[in-house]
């Protein structure tokens, strides 16, 4: 009985702690990445963005996604890789107009993706 109760409380504590930890971890990672994408967007808007700027965002994403792979379905991560690659390509070729639309998509993904993993009615059902 004591053993069962103990296992219930320990498991519950573990799951709740992991759930809260995951929420803050995912949100903070995407906030950081979203801010970098925002900065690149501003530079692209002013047509000052260069390969190095896009490369810096890519490097940041590469380091962040390693830990995000544990928590987020890999297809969602691949989706960001795809749009970031497209945006980088447009910046390198100087096609800033195209790059802006790609970066806009990335910004929306950075805002929406963490929302998909929060506990809310629409996500549960």
């Amino acid at each position: 009985m004591v053993k069962t109760l103990l296992s219930v409380f320990m498991t519950l504590a573990l799951l709740v702690a992991a759930g809260i930890g995951e929420h803050f971890f995912v949100v903070s990672r995407f906030e950081k990445f979203g801010a970098a994408v925002g900065a690149l967007y501003d530079k692209t808007l002013e047509e000052r963005a260069a390969r190095a700027d896009a490369g810096a965002v890519k490097t940041l994403w590469e380091s962040e996604k390693k830990s995000l792979h544990i928590l987020i379905p890999h297809a969602d991560i691949a989706y960001i890789d795809y749009w970031l690659g497209e945006a980088t390509g447009c910046i390198v070729t100087g096609n800033f107009e195209e790059a802006l639309s790609k970066l806009e998509v990335l910004s929306v993904i950075c805002q929406q993706l963490p929302q998909l993993y929060t506990v809310s009615f629409e996500n549960i059902f």
Partner: protein, 230 residues
């Protein structure tokens, strides 16, 4: 993660409710919540294992949630009796001193064939051999033999002639009898309508087990027609 925990819990509760509603027919020697866990665990383990696009953590969290729910169910099972009945169900007495309890059979989505099959599995071939018979909460069948259980001289298999108001054509030909033969017998016994007969079985010695709906069962003997043997 919180999402997965909640979704797992919801699926668990939904499956458990469905299993309870399906009655004892669907359960095989397990408590309903144990069966639900068995159903879920395999899938939960397999999906992240086979699909590399899903993080393994999703499967682990779901399995740990199932473990938590299992432990909670165990606590409930041991400590809260009314809740235990809701979650695990209670035994259903399907044969009592009056014969077959039709309402209990229907409540558990069982029919006469299921009951006769269970009786045979328990080693009893005639319905009047059992004083009490019940389906346990886990779906197992238990029988208490009658103290004065009739010992037949001639070993013969009782066959079902009327099942819930309808003749079983195959068994009529097997026994070499016809509908008219039994209609006459029923008329002699004061049975007004065929539809009121829940069960009528006949064995090779001519013994009939008859139970009408809402009445106590009776057993009596008849003379079998010439050449009737099986």
């Amino acid at each position: 993660m919180g999402l997965i925990i909640l979704r797992t819990a919801i699926i668990f509760i939904a499956l458990l409710a469905v299993m309870r509603l399906m009655g004892k027919r669907q359960i095989g020697e397990m408590q309903p919540f144990e069966l639900v866990i068995t159903l879920l665990i395999a899938e939960l383990a397999c999906i992240p294992m086979a699909d590399s696009s899903i993080p393994l953590l999703y499967g682990i969290v779901s399995i740990v949630t199932i473990f938590l729910l299992h432990q909670l169910m165990l606590l409930v099972d041991l400590n809260f009796k009314p809740f235990q009945t809701i979650v695990g169900g209670k035994p259903s007495v399907v044969i009592n001193k009056n014969g077959i309890d039709i309402s209990q059979l229907k409540k558990n989505h069982l029919d006469l064939s299921d009951l006769i099959e269970s009786m045979r599995t328990a080693g009893m071939f005639s319905l009047d051999e059992a004083a009490y018979a019940l389906y346990e909460a886990n779906g197992q069948f238990s029988v208490m033999p009658r103290e004065d259980s009739p010992k037949e001289e001639k070993v013969s298999l009782p066959v079902l002639i009327i099942d819930d108001g309808k003749f079983v054509a195959h068994n009529l030909s097997l026994t070499g009898t016809c509908e008219e033969f039994f209609r006459e017998i029923l008329q002699q016994r004061g049975v007004k309508s065929m539809r009121s007969v829940f069960v009528l079985t006949l064995d090779g010695t001519g013994k009939i087990y008859l139970q009408c709906k809402g009445e106590k069962y009776t057993t009596f003997r008849i003379r079998l027609p010439e050449g009737s043997s099986w």
